[in-house]
Symmetry: C2
Subunit: 419 residues, 2 copies
């Protein structure tokens, strides 16, 4: 590669070109760059097909290390929200009891405290199946406080597994472009069990929280072994197994990185750590529903929701994004009525993998014509969270604006990469 | 193995023991046996850990070939229901037009007609997203007619992909123990396209329809290449990609067989072809709903359904089978009210992979205590179809009987194998 830190270059990647200034990186496999937008990006070196030097640099290099504040051990923020990872067997009752204090954590996860100084916050403590958007907002506020703390290099959120992927999507939208890593982690088996995944997940999370990747990720076991974890995109991940330790899977995209306890291998480009101020946009309208179509389901459920004050509907349709559009069970009349009245109706797929497309079959064309917005390869759960976030904004109230925002790629919720 | 056709033996498999009479098989890799129940079973030879000869046979061997009626080419039944596999490009309009007659099929799929004589029925023609239980029943009646036709060795159903796995589950319950193979197949790309999967899928379906495996299966591309197909269990399969040719995946179990155009490799035991009379039990109550929990979803939806005359509810909960059971969003009061009033409420998981278990977390124990029935590793879609089938039976009306039937393994809907 014919460039050095400080040079202004054009990089050609397989899916796009970047005009950018090269930053000094402390990882030989990663090219760190600053974009005109002010954001920093990390690119695995082998993803760069070609580079053109536009302007040679003639001054002092902007070292990536300067944006850090290292004094001995680095500091990590840890937000504990409950779930299996924050529990241990209570020998007295035989049940599971929550870990409540920094002292509890220090005893149970000693390895974590060897890697970093840890500042702990516990905004609430619950199993994740009981969480709602209230908890997403309170958690985002807690993360924001830590992002604003100059001592903290990255934030770990420990969380139950049941709805972890909904929460990671919410944080992806609420926190916007990040200046530091935000890592959600979990365990499927509590720390008392020989097969517990908690220790490796936490150690890999700490490794990632100290990396240059300023994204919202889920970190957990990559496979059945205790050898490494994946970092998965917060808005493209789903819990795909009820009990396995590698329960979380990237859908329609690759993992961002493989994390070993002693190193990280980045698999895709990422937004890099910066000194930018982080903006919190934690807002949510719960006037929305998500449902999965099944054969014979009647569209009267849509009318029920409209009477309940619902304003936005995410359908997980069949195949490329379908519900019946002909015969006695046709959904078209009801959908037309709702979209004309200003409801937002959008389509995802219950296959999860692959994308919806309204142009391939007559069914899709009927739905497009009735005003349904097709959400490409966005996951149904992510679409649900995003729609609540979009509808929470007073300034995005018209159907056109809502459609525009739902189709804008804010947090990698679409596979195509838009910087 | 120390046995010969006609011998009465005990076979030890990894998951069970069989006392049975050995039949003559024409496939060296398969041991075909007759059980006391009168059903025939096929077992891959390498799955047999051990065998004990109980009674040596001293007479004429019951040859498996005797149950067939071969005269030149065998005869297959083909039921065409619509979808991409039964369509081709209309050069005049640029749209897709359905294949309507045996002549149409003969022209488009010539390879199929070299393998077998084909008797075609077209009970209806529609994209599968428009199908309801009415079509499942009419299709089952059409299959039954073909199973009763002594000339026909096996039945192929060509079907759209969107709801194929719901239909395969319905046929699995409606048709009970089969005497011949019933193969559902599809294509994701129409036959006019170079990448069409239709031809291989149909040829492998024909191969399977002539095999000794009397089960309801979905046959389609096993991977991205055109090399072989899988036969997947009708009640344990899900469409997991909106467009890939290998869209259908076995969930929580292996494929039954790999099918090449010239041979079949069986991967698990199967119910074998027999002379038994087939019983049709095509009955369905549509007083049921299926829904997937999402964070913040309020339980008032249950009350709405109860007012609409719904009698059974399948929840696809989070993780091991959860909805909120504490706090202001708790579902417990409403669920208790419904189960006390005789509603049937059962639990599956929206992770699809893995099983539900109400005993691990307090959430599950709360739900069990409120009367929710946990359905182990049954897929939500299969549970929906099965509940409609169970509730369709007048003689299975009490909550105890419904629970008993929902937990009985009729068609391999649970991974554990019960003969």
């Amino acid at each position: 590669m014919n460039f050095n830190p400080g040079d202004f270059v054009k990089l050609r990647l397989s899916d796009r070109e970047l005009e950018c200034t090269i930053l000094e990186s402390h990882d030989a496999g990663i090219v760190l760059v600053k974009l005109d937008s002010g954001y920093n990006i990390g690119v695995p070196r082998e993803h760069i097909l070609d580079s053109i030097l536009i302007r040679k640099f003639e001054g002092k290099v902007n070292r990536i290390e300067e944006i850090r504040n290292k004094k001995g051990l680095p500091t990590i923020g840890l937000i504990v929200t409950g779930g299996t990872i924050a529990s241990k067997l209570d020998a007295r009752t035989g049940g599971v009891a929550p870990l409540k204090t920094e002292e509890d954590f220090r005893k149970v996860y000693p390895e974590l405290f060897k890697i970093a100084n840890v500042k702990i916050e516990i905004p609430f403590s619950m199993l994740s199946e009981n969480m709602t958007s209230d908890e997403w907002i309170s958690l985002a506020e807690c993360v924001k406080k830590m992002l604003d703390d100059n001592e903290i290099e990255g934030v770990i959120v420990s969380h139950g597994t049941d709805t972890l992927h909904y929460t990671s999507a919410a944080l992806s939208f609420f926190l916007g472009k990040l200046n530091k890593p935000v890592v959600l982690t979990y365990s499927q088996r509590s720390i008392d069990r020989a097969s517990s995944d908690a220790d490796l997940n936490l150690r890999c999370s700490a490794k990632f929280a100290l990396s240059d990747c300023a994204e919202v990720v889920i970190v957990g076991h990559a496979g059945m072994n205790d050898d490494f974890c994946y970092a998965l995109s917060g808005a493209k991940t789903r819990k795909m197994h009820s009990s396995r330790r590698d329960a979380f899977k990237s859908i329609n995209t690759s993992a961002i990185a493989k994390i070993f306890t002693d190193r990280i291998e980045f698999l895709s480009s990422f937004n890099a750590r910066s000194k930018n101020k982080n903006e919190l946009d934690a807002i949510f309208s719960d006037k929305i529903v998500l449902f999965h179509y099944y054969p014979g389901q009647k569209p009267d459920i849509l009318e029920y929701y409209s009477l309940k004050g619902i304003k936005g509907i995410v359908i997980a349709g069949t195949g490329m994004g379908h519900v019946p559009t002909i015969g006695k069970n046709s959904w078209i009349p009801v959908i037309k009525k709702l979209t004309k009245a200003g409801f937002f109706v959008c389509m995802t797929t219950q296959t999860f993998y692959g994308r919806v497309d309204g142009h391939v079959y007559s069914t899709g064309r009927d739905l497009l014509e009735a005003g349904v917005v097709f959400l490409e390869d966005m996951l149904p759960e992510t679409a649900f969270v995003k729609l609540g976030w979009v509808l929470g904004h007073r300034s995005w109230k018209t159907p056109e604006k809502i459609k525009e925002k739902m189709l804008e790629n804010f947090a990698g919720e679409f596979s195509k990469i838009l910087v």
